[in-house]
Symmetry: C3
Subunit: 112 residues, 3 copies
């Protein structure tokens, strides 16, 4: 299994959620973050105002997937979050050794 | 080393903390998140009210452990967070290459 | 690629940011967390007051780096966040399979 993590622009979250559902993912986790990339945040626009501090608000999206689904899920997130402007975000994948569904105790791909 | 991450129901955090202390873990990190699983959040109950939006509030718990402790720590979290209702949560394990304790500069299992 | 994650004291964030820029990192992600280490949080001081609850406020810093940079980035974070007091923090590294820059679709080290 893999964990696909994306840092996206907050206003793209609804589209990313829809894209993930269309891609058939079984669940997702969302949390707040802030950050900067190559431009150190200095030239990013947030809610219509140019952002002068360097940590720009972002949203983190995490999706546990079966190995063969990692690249399709990454592509779904990229398509849905891409505006073509700097600060659009970053998506990465990390290997996962084990997953358990708490309610049932199921493990492995069954637990996704 | 391994990083065990759990997304649990917020009202189970105290029990999970106690279970982790009983299991002998050396520390933990807690943060806020929200998410949904197989039911897309539609049928989950939060604070007594059925939740109509699809991102249900959850708590993230992370524990760095030595390799042989990962499954016992997972089991401790699962037992302590399980209510038998949908939305109980998910626990996963990721490999960790290196850990450092900031105060002392110690690394590896000594740093946990 | 690697993901270096640090849990640091909130008042060290500015110094850590400067140290990371000096170390040449291309970006970072910051989020709120709380936690405890070996002392279970009982003897930590936060904003001048001894902290009586066990989950002490912390900041999470995450940096995606190329493999050869992981240890230098870890050292930069450790130096910048170290005060010598308990609760100074923890830094760990996790392997990353793939990274994509959302705006351009670039992948791998080019995407950092
Ligand atoms: N190297 C990195 N490590 C950790 N997080 C990063 C890194 N680079 C970017 N991020 C996170 O992703 C968010 C979006 O980054 P961003 O899209 O600006 O990347 P970029 O490489 O600068 O691309 P662009 O040139 O399109 O702006 C940042 O706010 C930050 O939270
Ligand atoms: N595939 C997934 N990827 C990332 N996070 C997930 C995934 N599935 C669930 N989660 C996270 O775990 C939380 C709890 O999930 P949940 O317990 O509803 O899983 P489930 O598989 O639907 O199990 P159940 O049938 O018992 O509800 C979600 O709110 C979400 O934050
Ligand atoms: N084993 C662990 N798993 C997950 N997070 C941890 C762990 N240990 C510490 N942390 C996180 O790092 C933060 C700082 O930990 P801390 O610096 O107190 O570690 P420590 O090992 O107790 O070192 P010290 O003796 O210097 O206090 C904690 O508040 C927690 O968020
Ligand atoms: Mg950028
Ligand atoms: Mg569910
Ligand atoms: Mg401590």
């Amino acid at each position: 299994m893999k964990l696909v993590t994306a840092i996206i622009q907050p206003h793209r979250l609804d589209d990313v959620k829809s894209a993930l559902e269309a891609a058939g993912v079984k669940g997702m986790t969302v949390s707040e973050a802030s950050g900067y990339g190559r431009q150190k945040g200095h030239t990013e626009v947030y809610r219509g105002a140019e952002y002068t501090v360097d940590l720009v608000p972002k949203v983190r999206v995490e999706v546990l997937v079966d190995d063969p689904d990692a690249s399709a899920v990454t592509e779904a997130i990229v398509s849905a979050s891409q505006t073509g402007k700097i600060g659009d975000g970053k998506v990465w994948t990390v290997p996962v050794d084990a997953v358990t569904r708490v309610r049932t105790g199921e493990t492995g791909a069954e637990a996704l």
